[in-house]
Each structure stands twice: as structure tokens, then as C-alpha cells.
Symmetry: C2
Subunit: 732 residues, 2 copies
Amino acid sequence: MQKIPYQNKLYAFIVLVFLVLPTFLKAQHDGAHPKATWIWYPGDYEIWLSNQMQAKRTERGAFFPPLWRYYSPYPLVTFRKKLSLKQDDVVQIHTEGQAKIQLDGKLYYGDPLNLVIPAGEHTLTIKVYNQQKTPSLYVQGNQVHSDGTWEVTYEDKEWIDASGRTSGESGTKWDRVGYWNFNNKQELPSEFQLETKPKKAIQIMPYKKGYLVDFGEETFGFIKLHSLKGSGNLNVYYGESEEEARSEEFCETLDRLKFDGTQPDEFLIDQSRAFRYVNVQPESGITLDSVSMLYEYLPLEYKGAFSSSDELLNEIWNISAYTMHLTSREFFIDGIKRDRWIWSGDAYQSYLMNYYLFNDNPSVKRTTYALRGKEPVNSHINTIMDYSFYWFMGIYDYYLFSGDVDFIKQIYPRMESLMEFCLQRVNENGMMEGLPGDWVFIDWADGLTKEGELSFEQILFARSLETMAICAAINKDDEASNRYRSLAEDLKQKILTQFWSEQQKAFIHNRIDGELTNEVTRYTNMFAVFFNYVSKEKESQILQHVLLNDQVKQITTPYMRFYELEALCALGEQEYVLDEIRDYWGGMLALGATSFWEKYDPTEKGVEQLAMYGRPFGKSLCHAWGASPIYLFGRYYLGVQPTDPGFATYEIKPNLGGLRWIKGKVPTPKGSISVYADRKQIKIRGISGDGKLRFKSRNKPSGVEGIKFLGDHTYEVAIQSSKEYMINYRAF
Amino acid sequence: MQKIPYQNKLYAFIVLVFLVLPTFLKAQHDGAHPKATWIWYPGDYEIWLSNQMQAKRTERGAFFPPLWRYYSPYPLVTFRKKLSLKQDDVVQIHTEGQAKIQLDGKLYYGDPLNLVIPAGEHTLTIKVYNQQKTPSLYVQGNQVHSDGTWEVTYEDKEWIDASGRTSGESGTKWDRVGYWNFNNKQELPSEFQLETKPKKAIQIMPYKKGYLVDFGEETFGFIKLHSLKGSGNLNVYYGESEEEARSEEFCETLDRLKFDGTQPDEFLIDQSRAFRYVNVQPESGITLDSVSMLYEYLPLEYKGAFSSSDELLNEIWNISAYTMHLTSREFFIDGIKRDRWIWSGDAYQSYLMNYYLFNDNPSVKRTTYALRGKEPVNSHINTIMDYSFYWFMGIYDYYLFSGDVDFIKQIYPRMESLMEFCLQRVNENGMMEGLPGDWVFIDWADGLTKEGELSFEQILFARSLETMAICAAINKDDEASNRYRSLAEDLKQKILTQFWSEQQKAFIHNRIDGELTNEVTRYTNMFAVFFNYVSKEKESQILQHVLLNDQVKQITTPYMRFYELEALCALGEQEYVLDEIRDYWGGMLALGATSFWEKYDPTEKGVEQLAMYGRPFGKSLCHAWGASPIYLFGRYYLGVQPTDPGFATYEIKPNLGGLRWIKGKVPTPKGSISVYADRKQIKIRGISGDGKLRFKSRNKPSGVEGIKFLGDHTYEVAIQSSKEYMINYRAF
């Protein structure tokens, strides 16, 4: 993230964005929703769906819902559209819920599938009530149809003026509706299901009274029992490892089923679960022939790609992509076995990986809405202070990668209220410390201090304030933008001056009662690097004294490895990082991983690797934050990143990291960018817009016009179309 | 309300209430809930039930939900109880929703109907998730059972301290649960239905192709069609009047039914409606024999009573009580035909009538919760400014009549947030004017000015601030109490000095741009009297120049007649008021009313009386605010009122109002007070506590010990037990 122009450059480009992007986005929008789509109050469907999804967690059969506050959809909302019809239209109105239909304020008593709207100017208003599901609307006529241009309110206040006249207008706040991809009247949002397809086991072994079944790799779905006959009990024990599936006493998930003999022969268990192995144990009276599954997934296209001369790295990329796909579901979740919850810190990394793999904006938006919930705010996101900050940072990244100004406008009020919640909790020094009810997380690491003012929390807080400044400007609230910018600047200066130790050449972990401790951890130091908060000189000091210093406590979660390796890449240590990836992710593969884990400590032996949280199989073996190579390879080896929102400008800085060749694709809103590089040649297929290819060469490169020399062996080529650019050079 | 000690006396008694009432309330509580009852987050069930009830409004078959914001229950809540068990207990846990059960923080995997809790100290925690209904809990063991002492939170934040330890305690706000009367595990709150009983028509006349049916009086329920045969359409047109039922084109409610021949012979329409007449019109292919109904009602006991030597007044009381009963349903609603909604101004009067008729505290609490909704506040209650104020005033009255400190504590946070909403909307003069989105109502009256600072809104606002001061003190927040008291005092002084016109000897209606207008209306003047805000001298001036002055615009709604007559009673004009009641309510009876109306203008003729809102049958003929004689007779003729919360002290001031005799009962939390008075004798059966009987007599009264002479022909007798007191006297 080193070069993200977080601070000043973006401002200059907001103007550009408002001039250039709207046309593009409108075209994109019209393309995506030429016809009617189901609409709702923004965020409400996402909250409703996430409530259901997150309540699917069980622990050994016991229900285990999230630990944080649940919100709900507004049960009564009003949709509105101002119409200008050239001719009469006959309109069909479908709703999830009971509907009150008004045309120009007059109550309509007729058939909702046959509303005739005469030519001319009209206002169509439809109020929908649904206490159980998200109130939703689908309108289809020849000229009139429900889409993202409709407005909605949850508080359709009738205002009666001094003379007794009623108005539906004054005092009512209207918002743009939310929608996803339910583009058919029969496709009710409340009936959404992920897709499924049948999948067979690779091995079915007789085991005890039943079977031990191996599906060959980590997977997710519904177990199917074949030729199931008789009555009695049958237990299914799931395992991400064979040990777990065999451990009827300690496996994390299980199903205890009772049959009375009337069940269908082919019986599908109604809850989907994560596993590679299942141990199916019928009790007496029950028989079955075989076991298979329905694999359950969100249909997403792998738009990004990466391969190289190193097969191990290619396998790491493939398994990362599969891990990412398994955890990209109704929302971006943490892991598929245990929580199945949306955690903001985890989702933040999923967003970044998504930009380099699926580039699916709706998944980012759904997750962002689900995490935030609604008003009022009375705790941090997931109750974790750092996770509130990642939520803001995720919105900034979304804006940068998508250029979606509409979403920034839509989510901004919720950003404001969460930030006000944070600002009400600062200490007299303007810093945030954990208060009762706050969970200060940072990372799973033994003995990590959470006491006092933590430099890590402040650096995320500063970045969040910068995000607020940018989004306030997009919302044309200059006063708020200036306020947030000034708070961000103040805090950043405090971090740089109050937490930096000239003695240790590093940011110190925390300060207690105004006194710096001696503790140096990697967290703040690595974020300071890729946030571009420190001088080149300090970057070098951090590299030497922290990142490459074995005396500083090692990181053991892929979660923080993500940022550690990112910081090293940002400092040009691509070759070193590849070795780390080979060791760390390669280490998991060597232990038989078919998806990447929640935590990996190479020093642990055998089944120790399966334990966590004091439980023998507590660890998740398929965790989104394990998939970071997707991001690292795309961003720091293929070297593609937007430098202005929506790839209005972007850069490509291929880096071989010592490999013979690398090759891949990075999706953008305007199509994919292809990159190939070996030690003699770079081939780029760009996109329309203002791209810059930058690379180092031992000799003067050739092959295209206008190669610019920037000094220090570095050259630049402007990439302005989607044709292929081929450059001959000599890599360092 | 003249003698309610709103300002100072109450303060002195708060101490008393905290010493005396808890014991009494605890006894009452233990009596009412000796066993388990279903519990939920306070207000959540009420909000859920009211959402459903208020969505039952239809207009000629079209769905017509409320105009204001709907809230929802928290879909995920956690219940908790700290237990101290002398011996092991086996506990059954029933929930509406999925449940996570933890004993002392440990997840329980077993059967929820067989949780064994060992003797000793424990914490039982049960998290319930339900997106569709209110998450509710019923726990039954020998020692453990769910009741009002349980706690609940909607945000069970896990707090992890600096050393990584998890705690379910810190940072989580726990509230006392809500409950009603679901005292059986099978009685699921979500399945609540009002009671029903069959009722026959008094006349079934063949009419057109079907029948015109007369049930003899205003009623409410489900129409039943007997011996219904064939297939085709059948329409039911409902009428509060015969004219309305006959008017297929303009009747307000109707049902259009389609039958395919498979319907049961005895067909019950699934929606309950208000009517006296129904016009049942089968189309060809359909036949039926007869029509009856299921009367639907809330089972409430008439604990209050009133009769007198004037049969017309007795009939007025009876019809008032019936009107009140018809509108006392899941909640106190405005009227049964049209809105079926909970309107705060209407409910405020229902509360007062309830205290003199049913004295049903749960109905007041349900209605108060339903009106207020939850956080955040972003409009006035029902969107009406005055209706926010009545909400506060209703809580004060509830406290005065019930002494229920627990409820005041439970509702206080919602009082605070609504009051902060109000205080954010004052102008620079500290007064509230209508802002966009606010509906300023006052009354249905042609040409009523709503412009500028309205003295009426300020006087309700002042009273609301006084209520806040009292309730803040109950919550031991002295700082807030002082703040509210000082705001109330300031505002009251401004009202008294800035709106009083020495020239007109009256409060002026409004002030525009700091300039008083010349307009005098009754509203502020009558409230100033029974709020006891003005001197005796000004009271007389208001009586003469406003209340008894025909030049001041007449009131035509029973809604404001309520307060007008109350003010007159408070000024001792009981005899005059009886004449008004005979004219106004007697006028409705003379026109055939079987329940009292939303509006009555004696000058209107024939069917004009049925019209309102520009619709020929728009007027409600059964409106709660039409039932005020219940309140007036109990409060100002029987003369019974609490003078301290929960009738810790009370007074009885019988007033014959020119009648030969009056007789009746007023319910209190401690039993009923009976009053009989004629011109020579007063008979009282009081309650335990500190009651004062006051009356005027021409001679020295006798019959009991300790009659105290207070001057001005007035005598006082202390009533301290529930035995009968009989006094001989001579009435004036």
C-alpha cells in the first residue's frame, strides 16, 4: 500500500473522479441493471441475511450465535420514484410483505399486477411492511422498473402544516435503495441460497459400525446419506482432519440425527458444514450404503491469476484462491468450520484478496453493511476496537479499487456515527484506549500487552480519520472533512513523535500513564511502512531493527503475516518474502494442508497443529486470512495497483523476486490487466486510462515508444490502451 | 388534576415511596408471578405486537399501515439470572427462538428440558435468537423460574482484558426483563390472541342478493357466514351506521372474498372489524343461510362504577365504559373502525379513563412501550409534537396512580432520549416550534393556527420537563433532575409572563416573530387551570373570559372537551359541566349512538354526522376519547384521586353537581374506594393508607370521630382503613 496517495493526491483527483467516473459508472450501472431488480432499504437485506448466516454456527450440536449486537431491517419502509412517462404504462408490483400503493398520493385499491400509470409526471409511492423478512419491492412495467435510482425511507413522516395541509414531503429523509442481483420477480431475496453441486468422496472406509469418508480436500456443504433405511439414531462427526472426524468426543461439529423409518432413501442433512472427513455412525436399526455431499458455494469467477517458474508458489496461489473461495460466501467470513462469522479484521483482508481474485464489488458492499449494522452505535464492530478501524480502512480501499462514489455516499452516514462513537471514547491525549466493553485484539499472540495507549491502535485510528476526511469531501461536507483531516494530522504527529524510540530505532508498542515502555513489536512498525508514514531513513531502521530482527517476537498467524510481508514487499524485499512464503505456506502444504489455516507455528508437532483455544481441534484449517499470497503476488510481484479511485490511474511495477518468470492477471472495473515478466522481457496488456509501467533495467529498454528514464536504473512507460505492450530489458 | 402536587410535594414523598411502596409492590409482584412467566427484552414484545396490530388497518380492502417509523425487537438477546440454590434443581428451558445455554459461562450441550443445576451459587445465561418473533424465555424448575427479576441484554459483549482473559461481565449493560401474563410454557407470547365469544345479530334482513345484518350496537369481531355453499365471490360491507353498510361505494371497510366450493359450511372471516351493521352480498353461485359473529375483546374487569339519580348520566357512563372497552385491546387504540392505531394523545386519555374503570396497569405499560419504540429517536411520537409531550405526562400519571417505581426505572432511558430529541429542537427562546417533519396537532378544528410559538405546546413541554425532573430523581440522577427542573421553571415563567394578556385576561394562542397575536383559544387556558399553574385570580379570569365565553371558538371534539370539562370541574363548576355532558354526550345518544364518537357537532344534520376527512363515512363512531365521562365522574363527582404515588395518600371530595345522589367505585392498587353521597349522607369505604375525605356542609356533620373543620363550610375526615365511614351532613 506504500504508494496509495492517501494524503494529498487523492484530493486533487476527487474533482477528476466527479467529472470522469460518473459517466463510466452510469454506463456500468445501466449495463448491470437494464431491467427491474428487487430493491430494499440499503443494508437491510444484508443485515437480515447476515443475521441468519452467522446464527448457523454450532459447537458440538449446541447453537452458538455471535457475541455482538444484532440489528434488524426496518419492518416498514416506503419506496418512491418520480416518473416522467411518454406514454401510459401498465405496471406489475411485487413485494415481500404487505403493500400500500399510492400514485400521486392517492391510495390505489386495485390489482397490484395491473396498475395503469397514465403518461406524464407522477410520483409512485409503495409502502411495504414485513416483520419477518426484509421489506422488498420489484416493479416491472415497460418504462417503469425498480432499480438503484429509486428512493426509500423508513420514516415516511406525514407533515401537516400550520393550515392543516398534509404533505408527504417535508421532514422525510429519502435514501437511495439497496439492491444486489435478484433480477427476476420470482427470485425473492428472502429465498436466496448459495449454489450447490454434487461431489463424491475419494475414499469411503468401513469404520466401526459405519464409514469414515474422505472428500480429498477441505470442502463445505451438505452430507448426503444414500440408501438410508430403518429407524434409530445416526451421528455424523465432521473433521477438517482425519483425527478430528475420528474424535467423536472432541470434534468441533457434529449432527445427531433421529430417524423413524419414514425418511427418504437419499437423505440430505439440512445444515451445511466444513470438513474434509466425515465419520458416519449409525446406531442399531439403521443402515446406509454410501455417503456423498452437495458442495455449497458462491458462484464467483476467478478473474485474477498468477503463475511463475516456481511450482510451489503456484500451488500456494491455487490453495490460497481455493481458501478464499471457500470463505467467500453470503459474506466474507473468517473460517468455514467454526465461527462462520463476519469479523471486520478478517474481512478487511478478504476485500484486498478479492480485488486480486474475484473483484466482486457486491461481496465487499454486503460485508461492509453487515458488519456495520445500523444506529445507534453502542459498541465497536465485533466489539473489537481495531475492527472498527479496519472497517473504515476497508471502505477506503473499496473506493480506491472500485471508484464507486454512490456507495461512499450511501454508507457515509454510518461512517459518521461510528466515528463519533470512537471520538467520544478518546482519552485526554486524543488517543483511544480500551474501555470496559472494548476488546483490544491486535493478534492472537501469547503475552501480547494490551495495556495503556497502544501505538498500533492509534495508527489504525489515524488512518480511519484520514478515510473520514476523504469520504466527507466526497459528500461535499468540507467542514467535516477539515475537522477529520486535522484530527488525523494531530494524531499522526503524536504517533511519530511520542511512540518513536531513537534508541531502539523503532516504534514502541505502548505507553502506560504517559511513560513509554521498552517493548517493541512488529505491528505498528510494519503498518507505518506501508501507510507511508515514515521517512526513507526510518523505513530502513524499521527494516533492520524490527522486520529482519529475530529478537523481536515472531508472528504466528497468517493474519499478521499478511501485513508483515506486505511491509517487506513495500521495502523492496520481494526475494526475501518469497522465501518466507515458501517456508510458511509451503510448511502448511508439507503438513498436508488443502486450504490455509487460522494459525501456523512450525515448531508445533503432529496433532498440536490442530489445537487452538484450549480445544484439541479448535483451530480452523480453512481461514480467509490464510490466503494472503493472492494479494501479495498480485500487488507486489505482478505489481498492479490503482493510484486513483477506480483505476482512473494505476501503476504496474513487476518484480520477479528472484524468479525466472511470473505471469498473471489483475481484474479492474475496466477489465483485466495482464502482466508477464522474465529476466529479459515484460509484456503488459493494460486497460483504458492512465497507467504507468515502472521497472528497473540493467540496460536501456526497448520495444515501445516513449520509454522515460527516471534515474536509478528505473524506467517508465505510459500504458493507455488495452493493446499489448512488449518491452525488452535486462532485469537486475 | 388541579391538586396533583407536581412541583414540590412529590419530592418529599419520593423518600416515603422508597420506604413504603417497595414492600407493598414486592408482595404484589410475588402474588402476581409466583411461578414462571415468559420474559423478553423490555418493550420488545410490545413493539412486535403493536407492529402487527397497527398493520391491520385497511381502507376499502387496501392495506394501510401507520405513517410513522416502526421499530423491531432485538433479534438476539441474552437473559441472565444469578442463582443461589439450597439443593440441586432440574430446570426446563423453553424459548421462542434458538437458544444457547451457559451455566457459569460453560456451554451446555444437553437437553434444554433437563438441565441439572447443582446446589450452590451459579449464573445461568441463556441467549435467544429469533428474527421473526420476539426472542422470549420461559424457565421452570423447583427453585429456578423466569420472572421479572431476571436481567437481559441485547449486546452481550465479551470483553477480553489486557492479558487476554475473557469476561462476559464488563461493558455489558443489563436491564430488567419485560413480561406480561404468559404464565404457562404452552402460552407462547407470539401466539397471543384476544378472547372471543359468539354473538348473534338482532336483525337479519334480506337485502339485494344477500342480507343486511344489525348487531344492535357498535361491536368488533369476526363475521361468520353460516351454511355457505357454492363457489364465486362474496362481498361484505361493514358499517358503523346502516347508511355506511348500505353504501357499497363509500363504506370504509369491506372484505372481498372468493370461494372455490371447498370452504367450510361455517365460514369465519379471518380479519376482525368494527361495525354495527354488515351488508353481505353473495354473487351468483354462492348461497348462505345466516350471519353471526365472534365478538373479540380484551378480558378486563370493570372495577370502577358510577350511578346517580339521573338515568341519562348513567346511560352516558355505561356507553362510555363500553366505548372504552371496545378501544382497550392489545393496546389502547384511538378507534376501532378506521385507524386501529395507537396515538399518544388519545392513549393519554385512555390511561386516565382506565384508572377509573379497569385500573389495568399492564395495558398502560404495553401502550407506553409501543408508542415510544426504541433508539434512536428521529421523530416525535406519531410524528406529532404534542403527542411526545402527552407520552411524558402519561408516565407521570401512571406513576401517580400505580406507584410502580420499577417501571419508571425501566422506561427512564427512553424518556431521556426522547427529551434530548426535544431539547435539540428548541428555538433560541427555549421554546418548541414545529420544524419540518413535525406535525403540530392540538385538535381537529377548522382554521386553527399552528404558526410560531404556540403557548399550548409550551405548556405541555413544561409539564413534560417537570415529569423528567421527577423521574430523574427516582433514578437518583440529581444532576439531571435539577437540570430538568430548572428548564421547566424557566419555561413555565416564560409562559406565564410572555403569553398572558392582561387586556384579554387570558393566555394568547401564539406568538409570531416575537409578537403576540390577538388570538385566544381555550387550549392553553384550560391546561393552565388544571396544571395549577395560575393564581386563583387568574383562574377566575380564565373561567369568565375564556371557558364561559361563547365568543371564544367552541370545541367540537370529545378529545378537547375532556380537558375543557376537566378545567371547569377543577374550578368547581360541576353542575354546569353536568349540563354540558347531558347536552353533548346526551346529544350523541339522542342520535342513536351506541358508543361515543370521534367528533360531534350538534349543528350538523343527518348523514353529515357520519362524514369526516372529506369522506362520507370517514368519522369513527367508537373513539376512546369519546369516553371521558368515565374519568370526569370518577375524579370530579365521586371525587377520588391519588395525592401521592400509588395512593400512598389520596383524597375523596364527593360533589353532587346538583344531583340527588351519586354512587360508585374507584379502583386503586390497594382495592376499590366506594363512595355514596346524597344531600344528607356520605358513605365511604376506603383503603388502607392515608386518605382524606373533604366535603362542604351547611351544618356540623356527624357520624364519625375526628371531623375537622377547615373553614369556609369545609370539613375533613381521615380515612385510614377499608371499613365504612358514614357521615351525616347537609349538602349545599
